[in-house]
Symmetry: C2
Subunit: 474 residues, 2 copies
């Protein structure tokens, strides 16, 4: 089969082609932007769900599942929220041949489904904090170009919703959520930028929104997760109140936390290469493939030996698979590389006799291992592989940023780090001068060494100025 | 709190009340028939999904996830199918303010979503068998009275879909699916009847339908699962074909297999009692609750000891929980019984000193156990509990059946076992004479000792007559 398109030169051609060839999704379903989760894609998605659950449940979130449909009457209660989604909502108008009295929205997100129930569940300060999450499909009638995982019309979505006694406790939750996202993104080897969105770009109904942005090359960025603080905006609209210890009625403060299937798109986009997918081990349906090298006269017992290696790895909790098909070794390497398998184990006559195996990881690093150290050696090779992905990703992130010096022009081919005074007028100047958008202000400068004090790139003011990012969000 | 309504006398009052008090669902969501999966209900449902997966994946089904929406054009391709669902489909007609060119159905089941893709996936005989499943929400605009789990408008649904070279292989799949359902229902302690639906009541588009029916008391039955053989009906409508080894184009034969959240309704309906839920251990979020009996002067170290017991059980993979709250023991017993916890462990001063614990199972059986045998003793008590549920269920099943002797009248308060010649006219006579429905013919007589040769209850013919069931399906 021909080479994949060059990723750096023709990103979306590469992206579409790698998705199709690897079989991680099927976009031939007869509705644009609604794709089929194939067995391979579904396994990857289930592993992602498992990762998210493992980092969410220690924060005492409990899983729930709310109806997919929301009555229009409930949906319209928070004014900013409905305005934000008005153009994007799918509406159910008929049941059978009967026109419904009240139209039903396919949830684009679940605030307006959940909060009428929160109003019933929360009565006393003893009912708080309330922390629930669900992993469900949400729906958005996208009019922009759709892309599998990145911009779709049915979205596989994790959403956490909390309610607290007051603002400080809610903001503590925001910090805990950010901490959990750091763990999730670390496991997926996704270094990213933590950005507070400008007021004009926050989530509809939010008091503020913190987003996680991944630079993808050039000035492109992809939002891969968000945490929002709602203050009491929704509590007010949905009548969620509680009686405090003194018997006074109070409004709880709320937060949400969202991660969509887009994070899989980010993994594919960041790590993939001209050979195909490169999957971090935590979400790889197959982490290790064992290939017996048969040659012209296969060594006796070779396939059984290879099967034994797979068994040992499986018993140790690793996701390993034997490929003893009749294909040439080269064709097998090609096929498993395309699917992003982290580690290939080759074993032929020579290795069988020496009681060793040859390891080749998806980045091309080769090594030899004693069979007696198989499990520990493979574990450590997988950890090294993830570490290498993280480091490579971090280098890519840094190389895509451009710190704009005072007086210097914004680089339309980079993610620009600029000073900003916080005024909307100056923020909007980004769009006028460089065709970029103001992503927001930098919440975390972990990746930056000693940033100086910022000065607004537009008005030159230093009072209140903070570091901000100008880029082209996908 | 007051007693629950008597289950035998007022089944649905009892059912609604036990759901509300136990908190396993919340039906106050503002759309009739769409309920909220609370943390308790969602955990139960996840355990059910896990059970289903564990019995399906050995049959080589692979998990997929298809879009929720189906274009009307695809939906209408199989004539019987659309007729069967015409009155029950929710239709999406608008995206934002835009009227859609093609209306979109919220899937009531996924044949018409999957089979256009099967037509792309299946090309050669080497692509068969194809076996996929998904666990998703499906939607039906029910006009009958809705009941949580039993008849809802958004349904949590497992659906398996297969395609095979020919009919015999497809029917082998039907038998394998039935075998897996036997295992699932055994784990849920649900003895049931296996029934082939009459032609006028089979699944729309099916060649035949085999259903699993649970007698619920009186003449009421509940369908808790189905397996369908489609022959090539859908393959023909959706253009699914393959090239056989000789290069000829053939149509694959298809089957489906479905289990919905209704099976949870069946568990609740069959096993529950006047104290509340009774959950088989495999789907119980909490299997064991440990209650330290504090008394007026709690023994020193009692709570820590109880905590240690919980830890030991948890480490052994059991779902155990400590209740060391300030409530009276009686109030705790009441609360955990309501939630259907299989086993309560009581430990007070006396037990602490004797290094024993008192076990009380949800059916009221008490025993004493040495602490040194805690894990094995609890495991065996849980197995005994499930066995007792199964036996009790089987006794209930048998007591609800009435074998109708020739010339005898049908009992409108039982599930009647009658001879039937197979003619529609005679089958429909059931409805005319007793207000019951013909559920179909008995596929499996495991629960019956030596049934004699049947004679049609209506026309007296013995030629072609088989045993059939007449009841009132919910």
């Amino acid at each position: 089969m021909s080479e994949l398109p060059a990723k750096e030169q023709a990103f979306f051609e590469w992206y579409n082609e790698v998705l199709e060839r690897s079989g991680i999704t099927d976009k031939r379903y007869p509705i644009k932007g609604m794709n089929v989760w194939t067995p391979f894609g579904q396994k990857t998605s289930s592993l992602l769900d498992r990762l998210i659950r493992s980092r969410i449940e220690p924060l005492l979130y409990e899983e729930v599942n709310f109806p997919t449909l929301i009555p229009e009457t409930e949906f319209r209660k928070e004014g900013d929220h409905i305005k934000g989604f008005d153009e994007q909502v799918y509406w159910v108008t008929h049941g059978g041949r009967t026109e419904l009295d009240v139209k039903l929205a396919l949830r684009p997100t679940s605030e307006t489904a959940m909060y009428p129930m929160f109003a019933l569940w929360v009565r006393s300060h003893k009912d708080l904090p309330l922390r629930v999450y669900q992993i469900v499909s949400v729906f958005r009638y996208e009019t922009k170009t759709t892309r599998p995982f990145i911009r779709v019309r049915e979205i596989h979505f994790f959403e956490g919703h909390t309610a607290h006694l007051d603002g400080p406790r809610a903001e503590e939750q925001v910090r805990a959520d950010i901490g959990s996202f750091d763990e999730i993104s670390r496991a997926l080897c996704l270094p990213h930028l933590r950005v507070r969105r400008p007021d004009w770009d926050k989530f509809p109904g939010a008091h503020y929104s913190i987003a996680f942005d991944l630079p993808l090359g050039g000035s492109k960025t992809l939002q891969i997760g968000t945490v929002h603080y709602y203050r009491d905006n929704f509590a007010r609209a949905y009548g969620i109140g509680y009686e405090d210890a003194q018997g006074n009625r109070q409004l709880p403060h709320q937060t949400t936390y969202g991660i969509s299937e887009r994070i899989l798109g980010a993994v594919i986009a960041l790590h993939g290469d001209e050979k195909g997918l490169v999957l971090p081990t935590i979400i790889a349906p197959i982490q290790v493939v064992v290939i017996p090298i048969m040659g012209k006269e296969p060594a006796e017992g070779l396939v059984e030996h290879a099967q034994g290696l797979v068994q040992a790895l499986t018993d140790a909790g690793l996701r390993a698979r034997l490929d003893a098909s009749d294909e040439r070794p080269g064709a097998k390497y090609y096929a498993w590389e395309l699917k992003g398998v982290a580690l290939r184990i080759e074993v032929g006559r020579k290795e069988l006799q020496a009681r060793t195996v040859t390891l080749v990881n998806r980045l091309g690093v080769r090594s030899t291992l004693d069979v007696d150290e198989l499990v520990s050696g493979v574990r450590s090779a997988l950890a090294d592989f993830d570490q290498a992905l993280w480091t490579r990703g971090l280098n890519a992130l840094m190389s895509r940023l451009h710190r704009v010096a005072p007086g210097e022009k914004l680089d339309p081919e980079k993610v620009n780090v600029i000073g900003w005074c916080g005024q909307e007028k100056c923020g909007k100047d980004v769009e006028n001068t460089a065709g970029l958008s103001l992503l927001g202000t930098l919440e975390d400068a972990t990746h930056f060494d000693g940033l100086p004090s910022p000065v607004c790139h537009f008005c030159g003011n230093s009072s209140g100025a903070v570091w901000a990012l100008a880029a082209r969000p996908l």
